[in-house]
């Protein structure tokens, strides 16, 4: 266990972890919104994110993006990428609700069926992309070479400022700010607008909300859309930070984001943010300490520990006061 490395560069590792965690937080918000209202783990949300990353790839390829373009072009690329990712992810999220989940709700299916359908949808989406990738980029599609698709590094990673020996890069800064802005926006939306009130009402008591004139179906579409939009933002940030994507990029990220949502308190929006940031930090510490690729295990261990000792999460359940 390499404690020297960890404590020697504690600040740096923390900043790295926070940046990682901010992306988790954005995806976690999608999980927590859907779970808070529908009591459903939307497995397909990881693929909603994945679709967003491919939308960014598509747009940037179409616009002929290169490494480190001039500022004007850069802004254009980012805006276009953001719009594409949010549109693609939002659309995918709403489509999965419309096609798969709505029918199950009409049938009043038990939770097990919902879960399995969600897994199926997730599999269909990721495999569809995998197959399409293998064929599209390789022509005859023989063999199961599922490519990692690279992207140009539109923002060159550079140190933006330093705080007492800890460097914060420009990319990290962008990620933090974006996550906080989105979080604040979502918070305002849920707590201050009538649509947000509708969401909270349906989360707490769907039948009464309906009696009060809230259109339950519309509210549900809304939360899926919101989750999708946030995932789109996360997709763009991912593209800027990591510069590549693949058909199953969603799987591990989704699991971790869900862990983050549980850690913070499922159904609790601020909890998702806190959980995401915390998980990112814990992962980076674990990777530093063990100097190897046990970092994925860290997320699962966190999940198990949280569920054992504090299943309501750090900030407690909210939005829907879910009780089994």
């Amino acid at each position: 266990m390499n404690f020297d490395e960890l404590f020697g560069h504690f600040g740096q590792h923390t900043v790295d972890g926070l940046a990682k965690g901010a992306i988790y937080a954005l995806v976690a918000l999608g999980y927590t919104l859907v779970y808070g209202v529908l009591k459903l783990i939307n497995f397909a949300h990881s693929e909603v994110f994945m679709v967003g990353t491919f939308a960014v790839v598509g747009v940037w390829t179409a616009m002929g993006a290169t490494d480190s373009p001039p500022v004007g072009t850069l802004i254009l690329l980012l805006v276009a990428g953001l719009a594409a990712a949010m549109a693609a992810s939002g659309l995918t999220a709403v489509a999965t609700e419309r096609i798969a989940y709505r029918r199950l709700r009409r049938m009043n299916a038990p939770p097990l069926i919902f879960l399995i359908t969600a897994i199926g949808v997730s599999l269909v989406l990721s495999e569809a992309y995998g197959v399409w990738l293998a064929r599209f980029f390789q022509g005859d599609g023989l063999g199961s070479q599922r490519l990692v698709v690279g992207m140009p590094a539109v923002i060159k990673q550079d140190v933006l400022f330093s705080v007492g020996g800890t460097d914060v890069t420009n990319i990290q800064f962008i990620i933090f700010v974006s996550a906080l802005v989105m979080m604040a926006g979502l918070d305002q939306f849920i707590n201050r607008t009538r649509y947000g009130r509708g969401v909270r009402a349906v989360a707490q008591n769907p039948d009464t909300a309906a009696l009060m004139g809230v259109n339950k179906d519309r509210v549900i579409v809304l939360i899926f859309l919101l989750g999708g939009l946030l995932a789109g933002v996360a997709a763009l940030l991912w593209a800027i930070r990591y510069g590549n994507t693949r058909f199953n990029v969603g799987f591990v990220l989704g699991l971790k984001a869900f862990t983050a949502a549980v850690l913070g308190g499922i159904g609790n929006l601020r909890g998702a943010l806190l959980g995401g940031l915390l998980l990112g930090v814990v992962e980076v510490y674990a990777a530093t300490l063990t100097q190897s690729n046990w970092e994925d295990v860290a997320a699962f261990v966190v999940l198990v520990v949280v569920l054992l000792f504090r299943p309501t999460g750090l900030l407690g359940e909210s939005l829907g006061r879910a009780r089994a």
């Binding site: 049938m107 299916a109 399995i116 199926g120 690729n293 699962f300 999940l303 569920l307």
Partner: protein, 381 residues
């Protein structure tokens, strides 16, 4: 004795699924004869060389040798489905990490039975044993079952109290942890896996005349025998107070508790037994293929297992066996579409859930439960 079995089975007969209705309308002795004939047919299956029926086989060469191999994999998957059915169908718990138990069973025989495993080598050094010593294959069997049951209890004890969806995620995590540990740890051979796994006749060598490399039929017959024994065992449990308790817990756990049924105890037993069956299938699987590596035990496989049970008909052994057979056999039959395999699984899952959630051969109780729920759905859902 007869009346009890008849009355209990009468009731089960009344409750059986649609396809099973005609079957169960037959008098008992006719069903027994039909069953024996079916079992005989299963044993004969690898020898199936009737020209008209070769389209069933997956090898296009007359007298080709892969048919038995495919059948073997089908048998192993049926065993997995039976085990997972105990967890998902009988006790109603969603386990998304069943591949973990499969892996533990496989690694048990690999780590203790193969002369190339790091564990065996360490034991050889510690105890001054010869280079070709390893734990006997037959001893590895109870070892595998014990290890998987223990891990099932370790996993289940803290998590069975959780809500269903949380349990699903935690089990998924468990499966992943097992895979990652197997990949990272030097004790498990790391990413290269472990070779030289023994079979019933000992370490793999050209001298193994029955359980060797060339003729897969004895392997299939071995697997089939294990499957039949396990089916018999699970049916016994279903028809006893244990089965009643599982059903009561599924229907109304709180009411069952007030009637003296400890939900936790029976769920834990279901989990442990399911784990043992998973381990047993991994054991048989590894013995035949002589080599395993961590990439084989991935989460897609876990999802495939769940798909077999759910598509086939959770709660009904015939159903899940059919589900397992189809999902093991069809990809082999349509080899050319290898790439689309997982896509088709996903589509099958979604379509079955949307159109026929009770599965292909449902347990009548399950079909009725879903019907009732659909009728109760509030109008403004």
């Amino acid at each position: 004795m007869m009346e009890i079995i008849r009355s209990w089975n009468d009731r089960r007969r009344d409750l059986a699924g649609g396809v099973g209705d005609r079957w169960r309308a037959l008098p008992r002795w006719q069903r027994a004869v039909a069953f024996v004939a079916f079992v005989g047919f299963l044993y004969y299956l690898p020898l199936l060389g009737i020209p008209g029926l070769t389209w069933l086989r997956t090898d296009y060469v007359p007298g080709g040798n892969n048919w038995a191999g495919v059948l073997f994999v089908c048998a192993v998957y049926v065993l997995v489905a039976i085990g997972l059915n105990v967890v998902v169908g009988l006790a109603g718990l969603l386990d998304l990490g069943y591949v973990g138990f499969f892996a533990i069973g496989a690694y048990s025989v690999a780590l203790f039975g193969s002369t190339q495993s790091p564990v065996v080598k360490a034991l050889q050094n510690q105890l001054g044993l010869p280079q070709d010593w390893a734990v006997a294959w037959a001893v590895c069997l109870p070892l595998a079952i014990a290890l998987t049951m223990i891990s099932g209890v370790i996993l289940g004890w803290p998590t069975l109290r959780l809500r269903g969806d949380y349990l699903a995620i935690v089990t998924l995590g468990f499966g992943e942890i097992i895979r990652i540990v197997a990949r990272n740890s030097s004790w498990t051979g790391g990413p290269q896996g472990i070779a030289g796994i023994p079979g019933p006749q000992g370490a793999p060598s050209a001298d193994n005349d029955i359980f060797g490399f060339i003729d897969v039929k004895p392997w299939y017959w071995l697997a089939l025998t294990v499957v039949l024994a396990m089916v018999f065992g699970v049916r016994r449990l279903e028809q006893s107070r244990v089965g009643r308790a599982w059903l009561a817990i599924r229907e109304d756990e709180d009411a069952a508790g007030v009637m003296g049924v400890s939900g936790f105890k029976y769920k834990l037993w279901a989990f442990a037994m399911g784990a043992a069956l998973g381990g047993l299938s991994g054991f048989v699987f590894a013995s035949r293929f002589n080599f395993i590596d961590p990439t084989q035990f991935n989460p897609q496989l876990s999802i495939l297992f769940v798909a077999m049970v759910v598509v086939g008909g959770a709660g009904n052994m015939a159903g899940v066996a059919l589900g397992a057979f189809l999902l093991a056999y069809l990809p082999e039959r349509f080899r050319g579409f290898e790439e689309y395999r997982n896509l088709v699984f996903g589509l099958a899952l979604v379509l079955v859930m949307l159109i026929r959630p009770q599965g292909l051969i449902p347990s009548r109780r399950r079909a009725r439960e879903l019907e009732d729920r659909a009728k109760e759905a509030p109008a403004n859902v």
